[in-house]
């Protein structure tokens, strides 16, 4: 049987990947994908804990998170499309109208 720590380790690696991706990558679409990786890292945690604690609550939360992630991706991609129409670019660094 795979120990709980293995799942938590995978989840931590995924979370770190997503976190670094958001902070380092400059392409809006990759940033969006990194955020989705962070959400899925949390999902792995929730499902693994749910299994080992023998409580269904975590799996129910994970189902809600999957639905939310879909909604978030829809809104995010819509924003990317409107921004791209204006700038012909999805580079985060080119969003520089607002600064002090």
């Amino acid at each position: 049987m795979i120990p709980l720590s293995a799942y938590v380790a995978v989840s931590a690696i995924l979370f770190a990947t997503g976190l670094i991706g958001v902070l380092v990558r400059r392409n809006f679409i990759i940033v969006l994908m990194s955020v989705e990786i962070m959400l899925n890292a949390a999902n792995i945690n929730l499902v693994a804990f749910s299994h080992y604690l023998e409580s269904m609550a975590g799996q129910i939360v994970a189902l809600f998170v999957i639905a939310i992630a879909a909604g978030e991706a829809a809104v995010g991609l819509a924003i990317i499309i409107v921004v791209f129409r204006g700038k012909l670019s999805t580079n985060v660094d080119e969003m520089n109208l607002l600064k002090w």
Partner: protein, 493 residues
């Protein structure tokens, strides 16, 4: 499986708001452009109905949907505040959207959906419902921020808000998942009892707590998680900025305090110091950086960061490990009082910004206010009152709010914190009164000929009158509001 009627009744206000939002979104395509405003009145009608339901629910505590939702006086207070703010924002938007020639009824639909998310947040008794409410609020706000599709600044605000908002939600969710693993539940009451018997130095528990602090820190715009605020507040349409600055901050504080005082109350020895640092950093950065701003919306953004810092003083007092329950309750109620007062003065200030918008050019630079007292005495006087109140000068409401916060800090033995906050309030007077100075002491620019066109309308007049009444009445006779906040606080342990 059947749904018990009591559960349905408990979330009746949320159902009314979501129902009205869906109705507006469905009716939008079949309504002619001239009649889009009628859809806004549907939203106002729904809010009026919600006020009635929530007032009738005050005073009782009901748990619904297997303890996912709690309806108690604390939630009722925040909901009433959110209804008032949303109602005023809808009226402000009626005027603003007409001025911007944006005939978009879906705007009101998303506004109400965002409100529904905030209502779920403040009456959540489970981390799952808090997460769902936060996301519903944020996703609607991302869309609202970018609703001016033809303007680059609005789109950029929306994109930046989305990236940082989604990022912070991811961090919050990871914290929730760890907390679930440690305590075996996502219910705040179960988490509280699970934490009760544990050692406070569990590194995993501390990590989960810090992730939650980061997640909520983004939502309430506390330093060092504030960097999205100025850009988003400046770029978004003014009516949306007012809504974000007031309603989303109030709802986030409501959920934030319930999570930390109820769910993680056993860890207050750990988070108290953390909040103290965040509080001071927020106060210093918000007030100091606001001084150099030339755009009024950006200045108000930094001012809203600073005000989050003031409100955090109350959270620090409420989480003080050695103070008595009475003093900690004072801290909690003073946060609620402060955010209610902050709502009126900030909405008023943004309403004046919307009022001064001149055809084509935003009246956003502080320089645009030069000599306003000569050209538009009423608008200048209103701005004077809101700026004085934001600075916390008596007899306005802003003074009352700060007075209760500082009193809580002094009674909890944090006199030095009250002194620091007071000194920074003096700093804040500089940039608030600079606007007043520009309006009253300088002559109007000779090259500007004629009167600036005011975007005045009956709806905007109602908003300004309500905000003015709130600021003046709460300043002169604060007792009813103070009594309401003291009845509505959480039971601290």
């Amino acid at each position: 499986m059947t749904l018990p009627l009591t559960d349905i009744l408990a979330i009746l206000p949320e159902l009314i708001v979501v129902g009205a939002a869906c109705l507006i979104l469905v009716l939008d395509p079949i309504t002619s452009a001239a009649r889009k405003e009628w859809l806004a009145w549907i939203g106002l009608g729904a809010l009026a109905a919600c006020v009635g339901v929530t007032v009738s629910q005050m005073g009782v505590t009901v748990m619904a949907f297997s303890d996912l939702v709690i309806v108690d006086p604390y939630a009722g207070f925040w909901k009433l505040l959110l209804y008032v703010v949303s109602g005023l924002t809808i009226l402000l938007s009626l005027a603003y959207l007409k001025e911007e020639a944006m005939h978009l009824a879906e705007y009101y639909g998303f506004l109400l959906l965002s409100l529904a998310g905030m209502m779920v947040m403040v009456s959540a008794a489970d981390l799952l419902t808090i997460y769902l409410g936060t996301e519903l609020m944020s996703l609607s706000l991302y869309i609202l921020a970018g609703i001016k599709r033809t303007e680059g600044r609005s789109l950029e605000a929306s994109a930046k808000y989305f990236v940082l908002g989604a990022f912070s939600s991811g961090i919050l969710l990871y914290g929730i998942s760890l907390l679930f693993g440690i305590t075996g539940s996502t219910k705040l009451s179960a988490i509280a009892s699970a934490i009760h018997g544990r050692s406070l130095d569990d590194p995993l528990l501390l990590l989960a707590m810090i992730l939650l602090v980061v997640g909520f820190g983004f939502k309430i715009a506390a330093v060092p998680f504030h960097m999205w605020t100025p850009d988003v507040y400046e770029g978004s349409p003014t009516s949306v900025t007012a809504f974000m600055a007031v309603a989303s901050k109030a709802a986030s504080f409501g959920a934030f305090m319930r999570v930390f005082l109820e769910g993680l109350g056993g860890l207050k020895a750990n988070w108290h110091g953390l909040f103290l640092i965040v509080c001071i950093a927020t106060l210093v950065l918000g007030n100091v950086v606001a001084i150099v701003q030339t755009n009024i919306k950006r200045m108000l953004a930094y001012s809203s960061i600073a005000h989050a810092g003031y409100a955090l003083i109350g959270v620090v007092v409420a989480g003080h490990a050695t103070a008595s329950i009475e003093i900690r309750s004072l801290g909690l109620s003073s946060v609620m009082l402060y955010l209610a007062i902050y709502a009126f003065m900030t909405l008023g200030a943004f309403a004046v910004v919307a009022l001064l918008r001149k055809g084509g050019v935003e009246g956003e630079d502080i320089e645009d206010y030069t000599g306003l007292a000569k050209r538009q005495p009423v608008a200048a006087f209103l701005m004077l009152v809101f700026m004085v109140s934001l600075a916390g000068i008596p007899p306005t409401a802003g003074f009352i709010g700060k007075f209760y916060l500082f009193m809580g800090a002094v009674r909890a033995g944090l006199t030095w914190l009250a002194v620091v906050a007071l000194l920074l309030a003096a700093v804040s007077a500089y940039y608030y009164l600079r606007v007043v100075m520009v309006m009253y002491m300088r002559e109007p620019d000779a090259s500007v000929t004629g009167q600036p066109r005011l975007a005045a309308s009956p709806a905007l007049a109602i908003v300004l009158a309500c905000a003015l009444a709130g600021v003046v009445l709460c300043g002169l006779y604060p007792n009813p509001l103070v009594a309401l906040t003291q009845q509505a606080i959480l039971a601290l342990k």
